[in-house]
């Protein structure tokens, strides 16, 4: 795993402080994490091989800054927060890669000010809703059921690594608190149904867009890939076999090759 550098960036009238992890060199990518918080993983390592990866922590999810979320009232505040973060990082129009919740945020950023995003990669994004294929509310899903929804192989090494908690009791409690609070801070923008008007805005996106979905995703069914593609003018869908909601980890080789090829075009 690459040693990512951590920078604390403070932006906005309310001085929201968040940590941004930075690694690699090359054209910039902003990576937006999923609901559970940022975790520097093997996928980010592969991106950092030929890009500078900026991975901000969603406001409130940075350890020691739980109240940062209070300054971000709604999705509009969140979008503006990220543009200000781009300014602070001196990023003019980076590529955006967003996973799940981060995918929704990335799509909002690309739709609000299309010029600020050069390329867009959405990995199993949330943000749309169909009554006949409801997105599961992961925040009230029984913990024992969740692995079967998120992972193609709930007993496989990727699932094991993500689900294993620290042995030490205090560390374990801290990890659980951190995870719960990350879900709380991201959940603020999607409770109780993750459909906040994105469907009306997706047509504004001008960046070339790659949509990646695990064909076995039971949290956000793959039918949503077509829903996104139908609304984004220049989008391509890649369904990944033997993967569920985290295809970039369960099929790391396939997905990182897709993403790097797409970004190199």
């Amino acid at each position: 795993v690459t040693a990512a550098e951590s920078r604390t960036i403070t932006v906005g009238v309310d001085r929201v402080a968040s940590c941004v992890k930075v690694a690699g060199s090359g054209p910039p990518i902003v990576f937006l994490h999923g609901a559970g918080g940022l975790r520097w993983d093997a996928f980010l390592d592969t991106l950092a091989q030929d890009h500078t990866v900026f991975a901000p922590e969603h406001p409130g999810t940075t350890p020691g800054e739980p109240d940062a979320i209070k300054a971000i009232d709604d999705l509009w505040d969140l979008v503006l927060y990220y543009y200000e973060l781009f300014e602070a990082l001196e990023l003019d129009s980076p590529a955006l890669v967003g996973i799940s919740f981060g995918g929704m945020v990335a799509a909002e950023l690309a739709a609000t000010n299309p010029e600020r995003v050069s390329r867009l990669v959405l990995v199993s994004p949330i943000g749309l809703w169909r009554d006949d294929a409801p997105v599961r509310n992961w925040m009230i899903t029984p913990p024992e059921e969740l692995p079967g929804l998120v992972f193609y192989d709930p007993a496989g090494p990727v699932a094991r690594e993500l689900l294993t908690l620290p042995e030490d009791e205090a560390e374990r409690a801290q990890a659980q608190i951190q995870h719960t609070w990350s879900l709380a801070c991201t959940g603020k923008f999607v409770w109780p149904i993750p459909q906040k008007g994105l469907a009306k805005r997706l047509h504004r996106i001008s960046a070339a867009t790659l949509i990646i979905w695990g064909s076995e995703d039971k949290l956000v069914p793959p039918i949503y890939a077509e829903e996104f593609a139908a609304r984004i003018p220049n989008a391509r869908v890649e369904l990944v076999a033997e993967a569920a909601h985290v295809p970039h980890l369960e099929q790391l080789g396939t997905v990182s090759a897709l993403v790097r090829d797409f970004l190199a075009l």
Partner: protein, 418 residues
Amino acid sequence: MKISMFHLMPYRDLPDDFERRYRSVWVDPPWGELADAETAGMYYNWTFDELLFAAEAGLDGICVNEHHQNAYGFMPNPNVMGSVLARLTNHLDVAIVQMGATLPSTNPPTRIAEEYAMLDCISGGRLVAGMPIGSAMDVNLCYGITPIEQRERYAEAHDLILKAWRTDQEMFAWNGKYFQLGMVNLWPRPIQQPPPVWLPGAGSSSTWDLAATYDHCYCFLSFYGNAFGKKMMDGFWEFVAQRELDANPHRAGFLQLVVVADTDAQAEKDYYQHIRYFFDKCQHIPVYYFWPPGHQDYKSLVRSTGIQKELKALADNKEWKFKDFVERQVVIGGSPASVRDQLQDAVKKLRVGNLMVLLQIGSMPHELTLKNIDLFAREVMPAIRDLWDDEWENDWWPERLRTRRAKTQEAVPAGGTT
């Protein structure tokens, strides 16, 4: 001290295998399979009659609360209940304790200010205004409020209601974060200026903070008795001391399950199956419903990691016999003498001046509930009702009801319609 009867209004005949067949008593129990409206109507009327009987029997207050999509309590608007109770008790010195209408999920919150003001007017100033923040099941799951915003909405609604109630308050604009009302001018306003405010809580220090800041009564509402409550209330009293407030026991309320019979053996015979029903079926709620991320603020989340474990142990009561519930004082039950001693002991130990007793528990039928109320009122209450009174004033009780209630006539069951 003041003693009020609390009623949850449960569905009293859920099937024997309810907890094996269904996921939860709350949020998603299927109405069509489990209930019918005629029977629900009967339960509403029984609930009225039981509370009115308690009022006649001499209890100081009668309490109802708000829940949604819940088979153990389906009074979605407690003020609909409270209105009937207020009207029918105008001849009695009994408080109408609304525990109450849920602030963060009522929009605009001036609706609660209005309804409470109505109740205070109808009852001639006998309202106790409970201001619950609401459970996750009610507020987040059923009413769609974003968990991390619940507490902020609550604090804002609280401030708005208190301001809107004031007789000397001219029309004003409320430019809040969650509520924007351009022209607030309440009709009616309450007789009491203001009615006593009780904050039901489950141990969150943020609720203690609100109680201390505004000098409200804090009520610890749990179904797990005073042994568990002791730790919570010790924390509360420590907090009160830190805030340099007096240790008036009436600052605190507490809910206790109580069953009384002629003898200890009779109590077990009469009530055990209903206690089992209450804990097996009415408390059949998945753990992951209680704390959706953000429902607890960060401070409470950090503090409560241990408490959740303790609650899980208390919820693990499938094998408990009557004596297990009684020994742990989850239920205080037995002969009048047993109940008197234990309740007195519990109230002193917790330092509580506003006691709420749950006298209808689970599947307890109407007649048995009346019997429990009657025995409690005649045989138990006289021994504890004067506690604290020589030393402390109950500043959190309707002013015109603060003196001890006169001995009432023999209570007769009201209504009787089934």
